[in-house]
């Protein structure tokens, strides 16, 4: 069916990346998508275009060029100060209808998913959520979008043959952060949004940032440090909390610690608890029973620390350490204290080029 793609009527071109920002801070997933988008655009002979919506966001263009964008489109408007579905959807739909991008990629964050669904519905196009792999089919030049389904037990490659743009969301840290080149320049375009505050059906009244780890939802955590019966008690979980802090993660558990009241019930991973897919899952003193495994086997990297070399968790583990957790965990906390953390913050001035 690829013969009569709509490109014969309107020419759709370019790979667009929606740059998610809040209070002028870019979510690194936007940079990661620029890295991947660069590859796709080069494959297609397209330009890589970054789109930024917000208030007082002009300064962000430099960083976006540095990560590979050829063009940056900015919509700066007081109505866009806080993210809200209505004005962001209206703004992005307006741009899509004016410029006809071939591909539009967004982060699979709460914001990105909320917005992508609204935009795709409005422009009546296909949207593939949570892609883990993107590519260009050499024959049809269609975007191949691969994603897990059925709780990660199945992978599916999805195409959007006729409608444009081909839209996908991608979770944070699926793609690598491209290097920043502050000498790169590009074309900067300012667009406007004609929406009054009265039109917007929502108002943000308050934002309460998480202050306590117990508030943080483990399903969205990138790093999870989970403890099992091997921790021996609530004090063991104190040690685990220290490890989680050193790794920038959240604490979770297998079922026995929950049953014994060492941790709260909302921390349980597994068949009767939660299913998580973090970037890093550290299983400490957990044997790896199948009822536990179903809740965490989709994690990118699994570390297991267990004194029993025969524990089934080692079959799942990317990196296994056989040893006494009460010795290994403190050593690990100490080793991590000496590690410098990588950061995505590089700030580039806007270098403008004649459009």
């Amino acid at each position: 069916m690829a013969e009569h793609v709509t490109e014969s009527i309107i020419e759709h071109r370019d790979v667009w990346i929606f740059i998610e920002q809040e209070s002028g801070l870019i979510n690194p997933v936007g940079f990661e998508l620029l890295g991947e988008g660069r590859r796709l655009a080069d494959d297609l002979g397209d330009k890589l275009v970054a789109v930024i919506l917000g208030r007082d966001v002009d300064e962000l263009a430099g960083d976006v060029f540095a990560r590979g964008a050829d063009k940056v489109i900015i919509v700066d408007d007081p109505v866009l100060k806080d993210y809200r579905t209505y004005p962001y959807r209206a703004g992005l739909v307006k741009l899509v209808e004016k410029y006809h991008p071939r591909i539009l990629l967004m982060g699979a964050t709460t914001l990105g998913r909320d917005l992508a669904s609204a935009v795709a519905t409005e422009v009546r196009t296909g949207l593939t959520a949570d892609c883990t792999e993107l590519g260009i089919d050499p024959e049809t030049k269609l975007l191949t979008q691969t994603r897990p389904a059925f709780g990660g037990n199945v992978m599916a490659t999805i195409l959007c043959r006729l409608s444009r743009p081909q839209m996908s969301t991608v979770r944070p840290r699926v793609f690598k952060l491209p290097p920043a080149d502050c000498d790169r320049a590009g074309e900067l375009i300012n667009e406007t949004l004609a929406i009054s505050e009265d039109e917007v059906p929502t108002k943000v009244l308050e934002f309460r940032a998480h202050t306590d780890h117990s508030d943080v939802e483990i399903e969205t955590a990138d790093v999870i440090v989970a403890g099992g019966r091997g921790l021996g008690g609530a004090e063991g979980f104190g040690l685990l909390r220290e490890l989680a802090d050193a790794l920038g993660g959240e604490v979770a558990a297998s079922r026995p610690p929950v049953e014994m009241g060492w941790v709260a019930v909302d921390r349980q991973i597994g068949q009767t608890g939660k299913t998580v897919r973090p970037k890093l899952y550290v299983a400490v003193g957990i044997s790896g029973a199948v009822q536990h495994a179903v809740g965490m086997q989709g994690s990118d990297v699994i570390v297991a620390i267990n004194k029993d070399p025969e524990a089934p968790i080692f079959k799942l583990a990317t990196y296994g350490i056989v040893g006494n957790l009460f010795e290994v965990v403190p050593a690990l906390i100490e080793a991590l204290a000496g590690v410098e953390r990588t950061s995505s913050d590089v700030s580039c001035e806007v270098v403008e080029e004649d459009g």
């Binding site: 669904s117 037990n153 490659t157 043959r161 309460r208």
Partner: protein
């Protein structure tokens, strides 16, 4: 408050597998359940009814056996239920599904205006989180996703205040009614169905909406109305687990150092 709650019958995804030779889904013998997030949506709808008055109508799109999911919604406190079913709906992706469900709600709305639609945040088989927002956009309802709490409903003032669960904290938002909410599991605890509800559910026959009854545009439904197509499905590469990087022959400090090196190489630190 006239509330519509959307539920979906899904396979128990922990049991879905791919057939090694044919690369097709093995669905035989896999039990169907109500999407777990939707149970919380029903509970939220019933709680609104209990505090603000009104009616709760559960709707589902699916094959005839999806009426089981509606019976479960009735047992949990929904007043009515509608099965949206037609062979022509098979193969609908999220865009087409959003169209069909929004037209079904439009029909209910024409009988009695709908104030609130509640959906689970996503379904566990597709995990897309796209259908709720799709309905909101098509009906022009205020879209409020990832809701963990309804703080206030001011029916005469046509306002609702909710708390949304975002990555870095909770956002309190005021929105205009009518609104569509998608809810997270932490919103509430599902209650056990009381006996009278179970009895009602056992005998309950939902209304049926089909293609003709909804007057749908055939070009917007089923495979034909779906912009996305599945090119292929396959089993995920099995975990390359089993690598022991340190055992008892190393000191804990050595083991820790080896692990830190690996995690650094993986850009996890």
């Amino acid at each position: 408050m006239n509330i519509v709650v959307c539920v979906k019958q899904v396979p128990d995804t922990t049991q879905v597998r791919i057939h090694a030779e044919t690369n097709t889904l093995i669905r035989e013998g896999i039990p169907s359940i109500v999407n777990p997030y939707d149970i919380h949506a029903v509970e939220a709808a019933v709680a609104v009814k209990e505090s603000a008055g009104g009616r709760v109508t559960a709707i589902t799109m699916g094959p005839p056996q999806a009426r089981e999911a509606l019976k479960e919604a009735i047992s949990l406190g929904a007043d009515d239920a509608v099965l949206i079913s037609d062979r022509a709906f098979a193969g609908s992706d999220t865009l087409a599904t959003g169209y069909i469900l929004s037209e079904a709600i439009r029909k209910l709305h024409s009988e009695s205006p709908v104030d609130l639609i509640i959906c689970g945040k996503q379904s566990i088989d597709g995990d897309t989180a796209q259908v709720g927002p799709g309905i909101a956009q098509r009906l022009g309802f205020t879209q409020l996703t990832y809701v963990i709490k309804i703080t206030e409903i001011d029916a005469p003032g046509r306002r609702i205040v909710v708390e949304r669960q975002l990555e870095r904290g909770h956002q309190v938002v005021e929105g205009r009614l009518p609104a569509l909410l998608t809810v997270v599991k932490e919103m509430n605890e599902a209650r056990y169905a009381p006996l009278p509800n179970l009895i009602k559910a056992a005998k309950y026959e939902p209304r049926l909406f089909d293609l003709a009854g909804l007057g749908l545009d055939r070009s917007q439904i089923g495979l034909k109305g779906s912009p996305t197509t599945v090119r292929r499905i396959f089993a995920p590469t099995p975990r390359a687990g089993g690598a022991i990087i340190a055992d008892q022959s190393q000191t804990p400090a050595e083991a820790a150092r080896l692990l830190v090196e690996k995690l650094q190489a993986d850009r996890l630190l």
